[in-house]
């Protein structure tokens, strides 16, 4: 069954068309990578799925985006509820200037959950899932900003997991990290696949090759090709894809 569906989506910033008639279907419990050169619209497209573009004054969208078959741009959809279901991890680690503990339970706090037992359990479980528990379990009350960049990013993933989403959107989650931290994040993504549907934007084609099941190649706002990752990297149908994945441009 398809978890996410986009049908004939166009996006405009003012009069500038940045996404051109894109349709894509993403299956549950898969990792899908969006690749393409800078400015190709892959991040904009990713942010459609949790409506993060809504805050841009000149943003306008046409078409349909569905999660589990229901249109998320429907007027009856509460965007806050949607975002609890579709979590997001950003390019640069962005923990709140609070303690590690408070960071993880932020999403639960805003839902009004006060029961300390539930919060404690959520912190432990989320940090374990994000492979960070062993490193921080003795300093949960310390500021999150004292952690390294890689730890901060895993904390941001834990914070997202604590809300128990079904989909996780990742916008170049490892681009600001060193190779070792990047490897940890990639391992993590691989493990999370069994429980979540993951969509990841990446500049790093090796990364897309290592972690994703399917890959979508965007160019100038168009979805050029979308197929099994293996096919995209070894035997793409489009010449533009071949040129990009072999490093001839981009």
């Amino acid at each position: 069954m398809n978890k996410l569906d986009a049908n004939n989506v166009n996006v405009f910033y003012g009069s500038n068309k940045v996404i051109k008639d894109v349709s894509i279907s993403i299956k549950q419990n898969t990792v899908t990578a969006f690749i393409g050169p800078s400015g190709c619209g892959k991040s904009t497209f990713l942010r459609l799925f949790n409506r993060m573009n809504d805050y841009i004054d000149t943003f306008k969208m046409e078409g349909k985006i569905e999660i589990d078959g229901s249109n998320i741009y429907d007027k009856q959809i509460r965007v806050e509820e949607l975002r609890k279901q579709i979590g997001m991890v950003f390019q640069k680690p962005n923990p709140f200037p609070k303690s590690i503990y408070e960071n993880v339970i932020y999403g639960l706090r805003i839902q009004g959950i006060k029961d300390k037992k539930i919060l404690d359990e959520s912190v432990e479980q989320s940090l374990k899932q994000a492979a960070l528990w062993d490193e921080v379990k003795d300093k949960l009350k310390d500021s999150a900003l004292a952690l390294s960049g890689g730890q901060q990013q895993r904390l941001c993933i834990a914070r997202t997991l604590a809300v128990q989403p079904t989909v996780i959107l990742m916008d170049e989650p490892a681009s600001a990290l060193d190779p070792i931290s990047t490897a940890k994040i990639e391992d993590l993504i691989y493990q999370l696949k069994s429980k979540y549907t993951i969509v990841i934007v990446t500049h790093n084609m090796q990364q897309a090759g290592r972690i994703s099941d399917k890959t979508a190649f965007f160019y100038m706002g168009e979805l050029v090709e979308y197929d099994e990752t293996k096919t995209i990297f070894t035997n793409p149908k489009q010449e533009r894809t071949l040129n990009y994945v072999t490093g001839r441009f981009g």
Binding site: F90, P97, K98, Y106, I110, R159, T160, V163
Partner: protein, 292 residues
């Protein structure tokens, strides 16, 4: 040749800096010497503990407490008005308002800051006080409440502007993170943005307090010039600044004990602001440790 030019410029710049420092030292020296002179006539214990301030009457008392109380009371009311309103406006401008609206409203707010304080004084006396009297029967014509409220209105642009700058300086990525977790705008504003900007907001309050403590005209016009040790905002009071104005514009003989009281009062004001600044500095540092 260019070396000499460099040297001249350097000396010129340095002397500009030295003049400022010398002026400050001069002011403190005058204040201090006159104050020491004053305390050779009046015991410092009386000054700090006496509950009456009547240097201009036959039965002279030199207790600074009534003036400190008046200053504290008006300042407190002013901050009580200015902080919630100013912070709300700042949050609105930064989190809700469309960019175009923000561009219009910010300069408009600055106009509030450009109103001369004497105009605020009359506003307090002739508009706010009658209005409050219609709600609170028995309120005196001169009182701390209306001067405090108007002083608060005067400080709103300061608090708004500085708090807005502080909120604006919070990385956008934090707002995105908060929205991404399913927060509403209100939750994002008050659970993420305001705490992250807290040190800047505290600075705005500090400057607001300094402004209120040093404010003279509004209280001189609307608060009544009656030194009184009270926390009742409905009766006439006097602040340190108003007393200084009252005596400097009066016909007190130069060099007399009455004359010297203004220096003692000025010194008290100086110490007052100094302590306040230190407390706020300490708070700011503490918050910074927590949030950065």
């Amino acid at each position: 040749m260019p070396r000499i030019k460099e040297k001249v410029i350097e000396v010129g710049l340095a002397s500009a800096a030295v003049i400022t420092i010398l002026t400050t030292i001069g002011i403190i020296w005058v204040l201090l010497s006159q104050t020491i002179d004053f305390f050779s006539d009046v015991s410092i214990v009386d000054f700090l503990t006496d509950t009456q301030w009547t240097p201009l009457f036959a039965d002279k008392h030199f207790g600074i407490l009534p003036l400190v109380a008046g200053t504290f009371l008006t300042t407190f009311i002013a901050i009580l008005v200015a902080l919630p309103v100013g912070l709300t406006i700042a949050v609105y401008l930064n989190e809700y308002a469309p960019k175009s609206f923000r561009k219009i409203i910010k300069p408009l707010l600055e106009i509030l800051a450009a109103v001369p304080t004497v105009v605020y004084g009359f506003f307090a006396l002739s508009v706010i006080t009658p209005f409050l009297q219609s709600i609170i029967p028995g309120m005196a014509g001169f009182n701390a409440l209306s001067s405090g409220i108007v002083m608060g209105i005067m400080i709103i642009p300061l608090i708004t502007s500085l708090s807005e700058d502080a909120l604006f300086a919070v990385p956008k990525s934090l707002r995105e993170a908060s929205y991404g977790m399913g927060s509403t705008r209100l939750q994002t504003a008050f659970k993420v943005m305001v705490p992250a900007a807290s040190s800047g907001i505290i600075v705005s309050v500090i400057l607001g307090i300094s402004r209120a403590v040093g404010e003279t005209m509004i209280v001189a016009i609307a608060a009544g010039q009656q030194p009184r040790l009270t926390m009742n905002p409905l009766v006439p009071i006097e602040t340190i600044t108003t007393y200084i104005v009252q005596v400097s514009t009066g016909d007190v003989a130069h060099g007399s004990l009455e004359y010297k009281t203004i220096f003692a009062a000025g010194m008290a004001l100086f110490v007052f602001t100094f302590i306040l600044n230190n407390i706020s500095y300490w708070i700011k540092k503490k918050f910074q440790e927590k949030y950065e």
